[in-house]
């Protein structure tokens, strides 16, 4: 079930990325091939960009691929590492949870405004940020539980 979800999330992210790339190709072809610049490609590209980044950060990037500062972590023993990961997860998870309601309000509020060309409500442009905060909360919680049960994969 979990690996199935993971593969689904990956496929969605890759699909968005490909769409972003194709949007650019269409833009360039229209401008240079047919000398007819399209008004909507720039906007669609930026919307897809926000989605790709937030989606991938929320559901695709494994913990070990993120840029981290690990000089201290590498210098201490395993017990201390466990404590560090625990505190770090609580810090990120708690603050993400704290920001969640206000961010959701903002994103919902933006439903009344549409993008200039496509007229897409900004709520649908911005909503993946809410996904990201949610994912941070859930992933931190899961990681905290795993660490408490001595079952974190990151620690090994």
């Amino acid at each position: 079930m979990r690996s199935w979800l993971k593969r689904g999330a990956d496929a969605v992210g890759v699909g968005l990325f490909v769409a972003l790339f194709l949007t650019f190709i269409i833009q360039i072809t229209a401008r240079f091939g047919f000398n007819r610049p399209l008004p909507w490609t720039d906007e669609l590209a930026v919307i897809l960009y926000v989605w790709v980044i937030m989606w991938a950060a929320a559901f695709m990037v494994p913990a070990k691929e993120h840029v981290v500062f690990d000089l201290v972590y590498n210098a201490v023993d395993k017990g201390t590492r466990r404590g560090m990961l625990l505190l770090g997860s609580v810090l990120i998870g708690a603050l993400a949870a704290y920001a969640l309601p206000g961010s959701w309000d903002y994103v919902r509020f933006m439903a009344r405004e549409g993008t200039p060309v496509l007229g897409l409500p900004f709520m649908w442009v911005f909503i993946p940020f809410v996904f990201l905060l949610l994912a941070l909360v859930v992933r931190s919680a899961v990681h905290v539980v795993a660490l408490l049960r001595h079952r974190s994969r990151e620690l090994d």
Binding site: D10, G13, V14, L16, F17, V18, L20, F21, F24, I25, Q27, I28, F32, D42, A45, V46, Y49, V50, V52, I53, A56, A57, M60, V61, A63, E65, H66, V67, V68, F69, D70, L71, V72, Y73, M84, L85, L87, G88, S89, L91, I92, L95, A96, Y98, A99, L100, P101, G102, S103, D105, Y106, V107, F109, V125, F126, F129, V130, L136
Partner: protein, 432 residues
Amino acid sequence: MTLPLWVLLAVLVAGMLLRAPIGFSMLAAGIAYLAVKGQDMGLAAEQVLNGLYNSYVLLAVPLFILAANVMNAGTISERIFDFCRILVGRLRGGLAQVDILVSVVFSGMSGSAIADAAGPGLVTIRQMLKKPEYSPGFAGAVVVASATIGPIIPPSIPMVIYALVSGASVGALFLGGVVPGLLMAVVLMIAVQIIATKRNMPRDAPVPLADYPQILWRGALPLSLPIVLLTGIYTGVFTPTEAAAVAALHALLLAGVVYRAFSWRTLYGVLLESTRSSAVITMIIAGAFMLNYAFTSEEVPQSLALWVDSKDLTQLQFLLLVNAVFLVLGCFLDVSVMLLVFVPMLLPAAKVLEIDLVHFGVVVVVNMMIGLVTPPFGMLLFVTNALTGIPIRDMIREGWLFLAMLVALMLMMVLFPQIVLWLPQTMGYGVQ
């Protein structure tokens, strides 16, 4: 310093020391700042989302990442390697010289030092390790040092990000990197020559003349890319962002259609990897939007500018000071953090002193590339170590001459801004 600012710094430093992802630590620090200040949490969403939505130039980043990954997966690196071997392979320490030249060529197609080390760098390391005269440490050191050229010769991801924070022209920055990038190659080649002569490294057997046409032909198509890209950007036919898309398309067509080096599965893997890497870099940028919002509301950059103004620093003193500080910071921090957090703080001061922002940008990016090879936190050392198993200690021991050469060159760039500015000005940048 106000209380909210202290809280922000505390959360940021705590998150980083605890080994939480840097991008998320920055985001969390910004949230904590808003919380203590009693501001609406919607501001967090607003800063991050509007920051990304309004930074059109950032779209170049995922596309350049895609281009580099495609080139690395599609045997394009090998073709460039063979091509450069004809040119400099006969020198003493020939493979090391080839590596530097390959880096120059690859730099003209990719904008990332990491991609350079992981792609063509790995190809040359494998060749060097087959020969007894190249110690693993030396092979690693050469590759790591030459990979720093990647983001100096355009295109360049760090310069795109610098353009975003400074408002300087991407085109002028790209042009400004050409001469410094070529000079980096020259000083590194001199260093290799010195070491190779001292160690009396043997010369390679020449490549048989009969093989020339095939190697040249195989190399010609990839080599057409930098020419297309640079001409396109400088004639204004396409924007740097569009150039990134063209680079990715060119690489895809070469690898997939012309060379048939790609299966659908490989392509999916490359796309997946590119999506993830783009997210990793951009999360740090998103976190930086939060931090910069806080720093700007606390008027940190302005205070720094006032302080610099009160010290009556000359342009030169300021640049030397900044570079010294950045060299030290570069030993401990990631490039993106320095570019996105520290550089915006310094920009008002640089403007007060009327320092040319293109000159400043190119020097700062060179400085950060040196930061990629300085221990304890040197991303290029980590990547090369992870890919080849060469101990970081050995690379450092063999690499000090390269490092010294690069720092000396950077100093020259500070002292003689024309090294950077000559080409952009010749092409019409900033001419009144």
